[in-house]
C-alpha cells in the first residue's frame, strides 16, 4: 500500500524526515486544528455500477435463505455473467425479532437477557456493551474485580468466536468439518467454564449495571488458566494445519479484497477493517474498562483479502491469550458489584449515552436515551455484523459464486445481530 494510512506513523515519519520544523511547535500560537471530520476523505459511495454488457445471458440466482453456507437465514440475490458475479444484493430480516422496540418496553435490567440473543456466539461481550452504556447513563463505577472478570469473559468470548469462525470458514471451503470440529472442541471447554460461572453455556446473562452478577465459583480461575495455557497449542496446530495449506491459499489469496478507503467510508470495523491495514481497535482507542493495563498488540493486514481476514483471527487469538494471562495473573480480591445499585426500580437520570466495545466482530455500540423512567425512551444498537455486511457486494463483484460464499464467511456475520 503506497498511501500512508496510519496517521501516527505518518506523523512520526514527517518528524523523522524533518518535514515538521521545531519552530512550528509554538504553544502560545493559536492552535490550528485539522478540519473536523474523519481522517480519511469521506467519499459518498457510488450506487452499484451499471452491469456491463454480458457475453451471454445474465443469470439471477437467489442463494438462501435456507442455504447452509449463508450462516443462518440470509439471502443473496446474485446476478451472474457466466460464473462471475456482476451484482449481489443481500436480503435479510428473516430473523427480525423487534429487539430494539422490545428494549423500550422492558426495564433496563429486563433487556439484559435479550442482549444475549443478539450475537449468540458472544453473549458476554453483548452484555458488557449494554452494561457499559447503562453505566455511562447512570454514572456508575465498576469494582476492580468485576472489571477484571469482564475482561476475562470478553476475551474468552473472543477466543470462542474466532476459533469457530476459522472452523466455519474452512467448512465453507469444503473441509468437511475437520477444522470445525477441532475448533468446537476448544470452544466446548470455554463454554464449560462459562456454565460454571454464569449457569448457562451461551445465554449467559451475567453482567449487571455496576459489576457482575455473582462472584467466581471456587476453582474457576484455575479452570480458565488451564484452558488459556493449553490454547496456544491449539492455535499452533490450527496454523500448521491450515495457514500454509495449498487449498486455503488458492481459495483465499487475492479474493474479496476490501480497499482501506472503502472500508473506512463504509464504516467497517473489527478484524475486517484491520485486515485492510487500518489501525483501529477500540481496546486501544477508547481504552474502555481496564484495557490500558494490558500489554497487547493489534495485528494489521496488508492486502485486505480473505486470507488476511483469516490470519487476523488467528493473530487476535494469540493476543487475547496474552491479555488473558495478564488478567488472570493480576485479578484482585474484592466485591464484584456496586452494592448501591438497585436491582429493581433502576431509574437512570434523564440523558443519553452511547457505550461501545470492541466485540469480536467489530464495534458494538448501544445507544440509550433515558427520560427518567424505568424503561429507556429510545434504544438503538450499532451491530458490527450488519454494517460489515454492507460492503459484501463490493468485495464479491468479479468473483465466482463459490468465492462469494467464502467472502461472506470471512465477514463473520451472525444473523441474530444483523436482523435484531
Amino acid at each position: 500500500m503506497s498511501k500512508p494510512l496510519d496517521f501516527d506513523a505518518a506523523e512520526q515519519l514527517a518528524m523523522a524526515t524533518g518535514d515538521v520544523e521545531p519552530e512550528q511547535l509554538d504553544h502560545d500560537a493559536p492552535v490550528s486544528l485539522p478540519p473536523p471530520g474523519p481522517r480519511y476523505e469521506a467519499v459518498p459511495r457510488a450506487a452499484s455500477p451499471a452491469i456491463p454488457e454480458p457475453e451471454g445471458e445474465l443469470l439471477e440466482v437467489s442463494v438462501g435463505p435456507h442455504h447452509p453456507s449463508t450462516h443462518g437465514v440470509f439471502r443473496m440475490n446474485v446476478v451472474l455473467d457466466g460464473e462471475k458475479i456482476v451484482q449481489l444484493k443481500p436480503v435479510f430480516g428473516y430473523l427480525h425479532r423487534n429487539h430494539e422496540k422490545l428494549g423500550e418496553q422492558t426495564t433496563y435490567l429486563g433487556n439484559m437477557p435479550y442482549t444475549d440473543r443478539l450475537d449468540y456466539f458472544c453473549s458476554l461481550s453483548n452484555n458488557w456493551a449494554y452494561a457499559l452504556a447503562v453505566e455511562k447513563l447512570a454514572g456508575l463505577k465498576v469494582p476492580e474485580r468485576a472489571e477484571y472478570i469482564r475482561v476475562i469473559t470478553a476475551e474468552l468470548t473472543r477466543l470462542v468466536n474466532h476459533s469457530s469462525l476459522v472452523g466455519f470458514l474452512l467448512h465453507d471451503m469444503g473441509t468437511m468439518g475437520t477444522p470445525l470440529m477441532y475448533a468446537f472442541r476448544e470452544r466446548e471447554k470455554i463454554l464449560d467454564a462459562f456454565e460454571a460461572l454464569t449457569g448457562a453455556r451461551m445465554m449467559c446473562n451475567y453482567h449487571r449495571f455496576g459489576g457482575c452478577r455473582v462472584d467466581l465459583p471456587p476453582g474457576w480461575l484455575d479452570q480458565v488458566r488451564t484452558i488459556v495455557d493449553n490454547f496456544p497449542r491449539f492455535i499452533d496446530e490450527m496454523e500448521r494445519l491450515l495457514s500454509e495449506n495449498e487449498v486455503l491459499i488458492a481459495r483465499t489469496h487475492g479474493v474479496g479484497v476490501l480497499p482501506p478507503e472503502l472500508a473506512v467510508n463504509a464504516g467497517v470495523t473489527g478484524p475486517s477493517l484491520r485486515a485492510s491495514g487500518i489501525n483501529y481497535d477500540l481496546r486501544k482507542v477508547d481504552r474502555y474498562g481496564i484495557y490500558d493495563r494490558f500489554q497487547f498488540r493489534v495485528p494489521l493486514g496488508e492486502k485486505g483479502d480473505v486470507y488476511d481476514r483469516y490470519m487476523m483471527r488467528i493473530l487476535e487469538m494469540r493476543e487475547s491469550v496474552k491479555i488473558l494471562q495478564q488478567a488472570l495473573r493480576d485479578i484482585p480480591e474484592g466485591p464484584v458489584i456496586d452494592p448501591k445499585v438497585r436491582l429493581r426500580n433502576f431509574t437512570p437520570p434523564v440523558g443519553e449515552a452511547y457505550g461501545r466495545i470492541e466485540a469480536p466482530k467489530g464495534e458494538l455500540g448501544f445507544y440509550l436515551i433515558s427520560d427518567g423512567s424505568k424503561k429507556p425512551y429510545r434504544y438503538r444498537i450499532r451491530p458490527p455484523s450488519f454494517i460489515n455486511l454492507t460492503v459484501l457486494e463490493d468485495m464479491c463483484r468479479g468473483h465466482t459464486l463459490a468465492d462469494a460464499v467464502i467472502i461472506l464467511g470471512a465477514v463473520d456475520i451472525v444473523l441474530g445481530e444483523v436482523d435484531r
Binding site: 435490567l109 460461572l197 493449553n230 500448521r240
Partner: protein
C-alpha cells in the same frame, strides 16, 4: 496430515482431544451454578402449606418474556392471603434468565437444573402449575448447596431441622421485611 494424525491418535487416550460422551447413557456432572427453569421452594412436608411464595407478584412484573402468571389467594372476606392461588409458569416462553430469582425477596423462586423438559404437546405439558413447580428445600440443597445455604441464612432457618409444624418461611420473611411488600 501430521496434525490430523496426532488428533486422531490422541483422541484414543487424551481426554482433551476427545471430549464427547455417549449422552443418554453417560452424563457429565453439571456445574453447581447450572440453571434451566425456575422452581418454587417449600419448607417442611406439605408442598402447599410450606410454599415460600407470598404472591407478591414481583417476579411476574420483572419477568422479561412475561411467562409467570399469579393469582393471589383470598379468604372469605376477600382479603389477600400471603399465598398464591395460581402460580403458572410457561416454560415454552421462559428463557431461563433467572431474573425472577434475583428479584425475589423471599428466596422462594429458584433455578432447577433439570433440562430434559421435552413434551409431546406444545401447550399442555409446557404450562407448569404450582404443584409441578413446588420442590422441597432439601432438593434445593441437593442441586445448589452453596446458594441454598446462603438462602437458608437469609430466610432464618437452620439447615437440617425442619420443625414438626413449620411456620411458613414466607410469613417469617414477610414479617422481617414489611416494607418490601409494598412494592
Amino acid at each position: 496430515m501430521i496434525e490430523t494424525a496426532r488428533n486422531f491418535v490422541g483422541s484414543y487416550y487424551d481426554p482433551a482431544r476427545f471430549p464427547t460422551i455417549q449422552y443418554p447413557e453417560e452424563r457429565q456432572p453439571l456445574p453447581e451454578n447450572s440453571r434451566s427453569f425456575p422452581i418454587l421452594i417449600y419448607d417442611g412436608e406439605d408442598p402447599e402449606a410450606g410454599l415460600r411464595c407470598v404472591a407478591c407478584k414481583i417476579c411476574e412484573k420483572e419477568c422479561p418474556p412475561q411467562c409467570i402468571y399469579i393469582v393471589v389467594e383470598r379468604d372469605e372476606k376477600g382479603r389477600a392471603k400471603r399465598h398464591p392461588a395460581v402460580f403458572d409458569l410457561d416454560i415454552s416462553v421462559c428463557m431461563g434468565c433467572q431474573i425472577c430469582v434475583e428479584v425475589c425477596p423471599f428466596d422462594s423462586i429458584k433455578m432447577d437444573v433439570a433440562f430434559e423438559k421435552a413434551g409431546t404437546d406444545r401447550f399442555g405439558r409446557m404450562l407448569l402449575h404450582k404443584q409441578d413447580l413446588a420442590r422441597p428445600n432439601e432438593y434445593f440443597h441437593q442441586i445448589h448447596p452453596t446458594e441454598a445455604a446462603q438462602s437458608d441464612e437469609r430466610v432464618g432457618k437452620t439447615k437440617k431441622a425442619p420443625k414438626p409444624k413449620p411456620k411458613p418461611a414466607a410469613d417469617a420473611a414477610a414479617e422481617r421485611q414489611p416494607s418490601r411488600l409494598a412494592a
